[in-house]
Amino acid sequence: MTPHINSSSQGGRSLALACTSAIAFFFAARALAATPGAFPDIPTPYLPSTRVAVDEMLRLAGTGPDDLVADLGSGDGRVVIAAARDYGARGLGIELDPKLVAESEANARQAGVAERVEFRQGDVLVADYRAATIVTLYLLPNLVDRLKPRLLAELKPGTRIVAHDYGFSDWKPDRSVVISKTYHLYLVPAAVAGRWRLHAALPDGEREFDFELEQRYQEIRGGARVAGGYLPAFEARLAGDRIAFVLVEDGTSYRFEGRVQGTLSMEGTVRSGPGRNPAEGSWRATRVLRGGDEG
């Protein structure tokens, strides 16, 4: 098994910039390890989370019975076992140390949750945890950042990532909580950057817009081109696969809310007019050009 230290490949960096496949992200993660950072590239030591920390991570993630919680660097299994025991979730632990894996399995049996959890001996940089709906991390900053490209590329939009102490260096958390320690919640954002054809069945008639979005993680901005002008998208928000924005035209605001489906479409409802009973219509957008494709 490859330990997640000192892996380096000078050629990997340009490769990472050119490709977008999952395999390229893997190489990108390896290449970034060679980039000098603020933190020394040392392996993450095993430091068990306190009971209070385990509670807070699972609470912040909004864990429930339908979730599959993957703990990357699962130690003695306490996060995964708590997810199964206290929330009825299923769990997956990835741990490099085989002794800790064996201990986790024994702990799971003792807690009576063995059939709902799985522990795999392996490197968090290569393990497969794509089925997870929640990913928990208690790792040193440099490993957290090396995991990021794969987390973004492989996890489904809306998957919740909770990082204990160390979050991603350039990705703003959707929420942070400080209770003795710091916990960051990130929602994996859908990829929405690019040009879209937006068709809206507004209460006052059908409309088509050329709609553009720029994206940096969950932060989005953009607007719609209309004959002779541009309508900026106000209050544009992306939370996982849920998107919302407001277009204002001729003194009327149109509030769009919807879901991103795959990479090529999104749809939802649009409301206009003030008050408690606004007029309601529907909208659908299909992607014309993906962000980055232009240049």
């Binding site: 209070v52 699972l58 025991r85 407001v246 008050g275």
Partner: protein
């Protein structure tokens, strides 16, 4: 009272105040999109009483009544705008639910208001601030473009213009004591709160042991905070407090732990000193 110089300055600056108007404050109509956004941000509903300070043609109060089901009144110093507001309310069919008062907005009686809307230049916003802070905790105030200086808004949106929401915070500063019914042993929580608007910092002792207080939040009369209970070393747990402040009493729910291990009790704190 303001000096004539100040009145002149505002009128000249804005270019909108008419010479013969008694008002210090120029009338600038709020765009309808912003009116909608203000009332939406304040979550105005049928139970609300909306007071618009500087009501102009009455559009905010009329929209609040017609589209959001609220009642309310507008205050304006210009009698011609009062007449216009009344006429507009009749045409909108809400004359029975709104009123317009010819009055200096700084003299208005705000006792009935659950929502206050206003659009004033920064100088007048600051002049109004202490009066608004003295209102019933939970009263919502919405404005646009201009804010209340160092009183940070509770929420903000930008749909064409910046719209701000403030919630009048309860006055919670002082020393509070609570007996917490947490079996097997009752615990004594002493908590000292200091306050700057809705921003609250707290120091606590749990059974006499200094304990840090986390995630302290005050929205109107609703106070929440978190304490880690280390009384039992083998059974550390997080205590989530949520309560409503009414005078010198805070009452609410206290949750210990999370998930399946979560237990909930009532808690009540009394202010021992201001």
């Amino acid at each position: 009272m303001l000096s004539l110089g100040a009145i002149g300055a505002v009128a000249v600056q804005s270019g909108l105040a008419q010479e013969d108007r008694k008002s210090d404050v120029p009338y600038v109509a709020t765009p309808q999109v912003t009116v909608d956004e203000m009332l939406r941000l304040a979550e105005v509903g049928p139970g609300d009483f909306v007071v618009d300070l500087g009501s102009g043609d009455g559009r905010i109060v009329i929209t609040a009544a017609k589209k959001f089901g609220a009642r309310g009144f507008g205050v304006d110093i210009d009698w011609r705008l009062i007449l216009l507001g009344e006429e507009n309310a009749r045409q909108a069919g809400v004359a029975d639910r709104v009123k317009f008062l010819e009055q200096d907005l700084f003299q208005a009686d705000l006792g009935q208001a659950t929502v206050i809307t206003t659009y004033l230049r920064p100088f007048y916003m600051l002049k109004l601030r202490s009066k608004l802070l003295a209102l019933k905790p939970g009263t919502r105030i919405v404005s646009h473009d201009f804010d209340f200086g160092d009183w940070p808004p509770d929420r903000k949106t930008s749909v064409r213009k910046n719209v701000f929401l403030w919630v009048v915070p309860a006055r919670v500063a002082g020393r509070w004591q609570a007996r917490l019914p947490l079996p097997p042993i009752e615990r004594l929580l002493e908590i000292e709160l200091t306050q700057r608007y809705q921003e609250v910092s707290a120091h606590a002792r749990l059974n006499g042991v200094p304990t840090q207080v986390w995630e302290t939040k005050l929205v109107g009369d609703r106070l929440s905070f978190v304490v880690v209970d280390t009384t039992d070393r083998d059974d550390e747990a997080t205590l989530y407090f949520d309560g409503r402040v009414a005078g010198d009493v805070i009452e609410g729910e206290l949750a210990r732990g999370v998930g399946a291990g979560r237990s909930v009790a009532r808690w009540r704190a009394v202010r021992a000193a201001k």
